[in-house]
Each structure stands twice: as C-alpha cells, then as structure tokens.
Amino acid sequence: MSQETLDLIISKVNNALDEEVLVVKPPETDEEAEGEKEEKEEIEETAKLNFGKPMIILDSEKWSMDLAKMLRDDPQLHFDFLQCVTGVDYDEHMEVVYNLYSTEKKHYLYVKVKTPRETPSVVSVTPVWRAADYMEREIFDLLGIEFPGHWNLKRILLQDEWEGHPLRKDYITDKKALGLD
C-alpha cells in the first residue's frame, strides 16, 4: 500500500517537475547487499519509506507552490490536510518538513525541503494550505527560515525585538540576559 503510494507520488512529482528529481534506492537483494553497498551510498536517496510512510526529499528550488497545489489537487494524491510543518537545523543545511495527510485516501507524505543554511528560504504554502500560516511563522520565529509568499511573516511566539533564532544549533542562550542565572 505505502510502496504503491510512494511510487505514485514519485511519478507524479517527477512529471510535474519534468525531471528525475526523486530517486529511489532499488530494493537491496542479498547478493547485492555485500558488494555494492559503498557505491550506493553515494547516490543520495530522495524518496523512501520512513517507518512505512512515503517520504520525499526536495531542494528548495524545486519546491514550489505549483507542486504543492498539485499534491493537494491531484485526484489520486489528494493531500488536503497539512498536519505539521517542522523546521530542522542540521549543521550543514536546514530543512522544512511538511507532513501531509489525505482525509479521503488516508495516506501520508513527508515532504522534506532542503535549504542552504546561510540564506534559508522555502516557498510558503499558505495559499495552498492555510494551516501553514502559524506553523511557518513559528519556524520563521524560532529558526529564521524565510517563507517568501507568506502574507504576514513576523515573529509569533517571541517578542518582535528578539535577537537570533533560538532553535538554531549555534544559538547561545544568554542566561544572564534572560534573568535565569
């Protein structure tokens, strides 16, 4: 079931983008597993099953509103419910993870969008799923990832004058300034 969904998503996304963006690692057979392991690790896997659920990894240039719209409107995919938007700071790059769910088809999708750490920027999906409104603002607030296309991108949890983005790994908590020490 999930494997089929994954295949479907891969073909749809690759179609929409007109190139082979999503690559699946072919399922390992026992003979292959030994010898070719090292070579395979070099190909970066961009679509896989994560705990039984499809996950696709995209670059921020490839991720666009049209793609998001396609994911929502395509009758076979029909991802109409945005569950969660997560921002992650890996030290070499940043990521925004969209968790999508289809209330009709009952399938899931993790969309991971990679963005460079220096100028993190991911196209906002608020016009497609309004649910992203606050969640993207939160990520902007705590991780400093820009969301071009968001109608009201400003700090939400911290006050407007706050400096820095606390959830970044290099953020130094100034306990003195916060009055904690």
Binding site: C84, D89, R130, L157
Partner: protein, 369 residues
C-alpha cells in the same frame, strides 16, 4: 441614512476573563461589530522544543505535561510513542491498557473543564462548579495512579511508571457510573436551554473546506461533519480493540461543537469500561525501558500523532543516535486551531467573540509551548 461611525481598537487580553490565560486579541470594533482581529500570543512561551534538545529522552516527559495541562496524559503518550517508534519497541499489554484508561480519563477531565468554563463564558455560573466536581473524580483517580493531579509524568518510554494500585480498576468502574449519571444531568441543565441555544446555534460556523484548509482537527473538525479521529483512522496504542463511535455533527457551529464534546464524553466512558474489563495482568514496562537514562534510539525521524482532547497532537522526533533528541517538534492542536480566529471572527460581535473563542477550546500552555 448612514450613520457615521468610527472604529475603536479594543485590546482583549492578555488579562481578560474569557481569554483563558495570557492571550491577547487586538480587535477593531465598529460599535460591537468586529472589523479586524489579530491574535497575539507568546506570553507563555517557555521554549519547550529548545529545552527538549538539552535533555535525555526521558527527562522531557514532565515538560510535555506542561503543554496542554488539561490533557497531559495524551501529551505524555504521544511523546513516548514517538520515541518508541524510533526505537521500535514493543509495549507490554498491560501498559497499553493503563495508558488507554488514563488517557480517556484525562480526556473526560479535559472536556469537562471545557464544558464548565465555556458555560461560564456564556454566562452560566453553576455548570462550572458541577463540571469541576466531576473533573475531580477523574483527577483523584489519576492522582492515585500517577501521583499528581495535573502534571502526571506517568508514562515512560517503553511503558508506564506505575502499575495500578489495589482496587483502582474497580474504583474506575464505579466512577464511570457516577460520571455517566452526572453527564446526563448536564444535558438536562444546559443542552435544551433556549437561551443557551440562541447563543450557540448558527454562531461561528465552520465549513468542511475551512476545516481542511486551516488544518483544524479534533472536535472542531468533527462538528463540521468531517469524520476524522485518529483513534479510528490510524488506531494507535490499542484503540482498535474497543467498540466506540466517532460522534459527528453537520452544522459546524458552536452548538455542534458542544454536542460533539458531550457525545465524546460518553464514548470515552465506553472505552474506559471496555478497557477495565479487558485489562490483562503482566509487565508494565519493557526491560530496556527501566533504564531511563540510557535510552538511545537509532538515528532516524518519525512523526507520531494521537487524538488529544483538542485535536491532533503530534510529535516529530529526530534522533541522531545519541541519548539526547536532535529535534523535537510538537504539533500542538491548540496552536493550529487558534489560527482560524483571525478569519472566523470578522463581522461578528463581541458577544459572539466570546462564544466562538471559548468553543475552540484552546489552552495557552499549548499555544505558546
């Protein structure tokens, strides 16, 4: 003849009787009609997600209690379940049953608090005290099993902390009967009341499309006719073993939300009863789970979700193989649900603002994390 009017900016909150905590609504009103709403939050922000990166896995559990402090058990559960998913651990049967019973008891407590405070917002005084009396029945039981009344810290990665004390299951069964009677009484007191109906029917309507667009979940979604309950859609824990319904309403107004929540109380009681009948003997925590400082999930990431009383609560856990989480993202239902306010309140009056805002059932600890 058009009367020349002027809008007035009204700051509702951060301290206001009906914002249920430190929440601020900047409202532009023309007379009593609302022209613009801007929710302002963050007064209770404690940086839970940042804190999580500092702790070993188990140490974060008491902090999940403090997100939605009305429904802490489910928060406990969803965090533990996320880590368990990364670890791929099997949970002992008895632990699962205890988890379900405590979660459902807590859901009842949470809905009762909503019921009481909501009617207080609407202007009825007594339901608040009746609801808190019955909520105390639930909290007493939870206190007995977990050692705290609200911040339970009961679940552990791999099981639960305590086994049920002697006779606890029987006491739960008794209390279920008491609660059922009392909830019936609430129905008589409030549901049929015409004044209450006039305050709620047709107020704050949410369509199915809006619900999906804004990612709203839980009783709010079910009141708009969306049959969406994670306990059924994707049965976590052992919810597939119980026979219960998902109450839905088509109207999507405040009254529908009220009815959905009341119906859910009965369903939760049903689940508790069944779980109390079925509960087996056995371990309450996996062997490895007992070494609470030594839990090291393999590198990976997983999104786990559960049905909290406010909606879908989710944890996106990323592990890098160390004993501390790399990133814990909390999908807090209140935080997502509250976003609808900026659209929903336009054109309503101040009285409806209170009725609608209360019906969303948000907890500020969860909104601000």
């Amino acid at each position: 003849m058009a009367i020349k009017t002027e809008t007035m900016t009204l700051n509702m909150g951060p301290q206001h009787p009906s914002t249920h905590g430190v929440f601020r609504l900047v409202v532009d009103v023309d007379g009593e009609t609302i022209k613009r709403v801007e929710p302002v939050m963050g007064y209770l922000h404690r940086g839970s997600e940042k804190l999580a990166e500092r702790f070993v896995y188990t140490q974060f559990i008491p902090y999940t209690d403090r997100l939605d402090y009305m429904n802490a058990m489910t928060n406990n559960y969803v965090y533990c379940a996320a880590v368990e998913k990364l670890l791929e651990w099997e949970i002992p049967e008895r632990a699962e049953y205890l988890r379900v019973i405590t979660m459902e008891l807590n859901r009842i407590a949470s809905h009762l608090v909503w019921w009481g405070t909501y009617l207080l917002d609407i202007g009825a005084l007594s339901p608040f005290l009746y609801a808190f009396r019955d909520r105390d029945h639930c909290l007493d039981l939870l206190n007995e099993i977990s050692g705290a009344r609200m911040t339970f810290n009961y679940m552990r990665i791999g099981g639960v902390k305590w086994d049920s004390p002697d006779g606890w299951i029987d006491r739960v069964k008794e209390k279920v009967k008491v609660l059922r009677e009392n909830i019936n009484e609430y129905d008589t007191l409030v549901t049929g009341n015409e004044i209450f109906q006039s305050r709620t029917i047709g107020v704050g309507k949410l369509t199915k499309e809006q619900i999906l667009d804004w990612g709203i979940s839980g009783p709010l979604a079910r009141a708009s006719g969306l049959k969406m309950d994670i306990r059924k859609d994707e049965p976590y824990s052992i919810y597939d073993r119980f026979d219960f319904d998902i109450p839905t309403q088509e109207e999507g107004d405040v009254y529908a939300r009220y009815k959905v929540r009341i119906a859910e109380l009965y369903e939760s009681l049903k689940i508790i009863e069944q779980a109390c009948e079925q509960i087996p003997e056995g371990d309450i925590i996996t062997k490895k789970g007992k070494r609470i400082m030594m839990i090291k999930p393999p590198a990976g990431e997983a999104y786990t979700r559960a049905e909290a009383s406010k909606g879908e609560i989710g944890v996106y856990a990323i592990s890098n193989g160390k004993n501390k989480p790399y990133r814990i993202k909390l999908r807090r239902p209140s935080f997502v649900n509250v976003a609808i306010l900026q659209e929903l309140l336009i054109g309503k009056n101040i009285q409806d603002l209170v009725a609608i805002f209360g019906s969303l059932d948000i907890v500020l600890g969860e909104v601000d994390a």
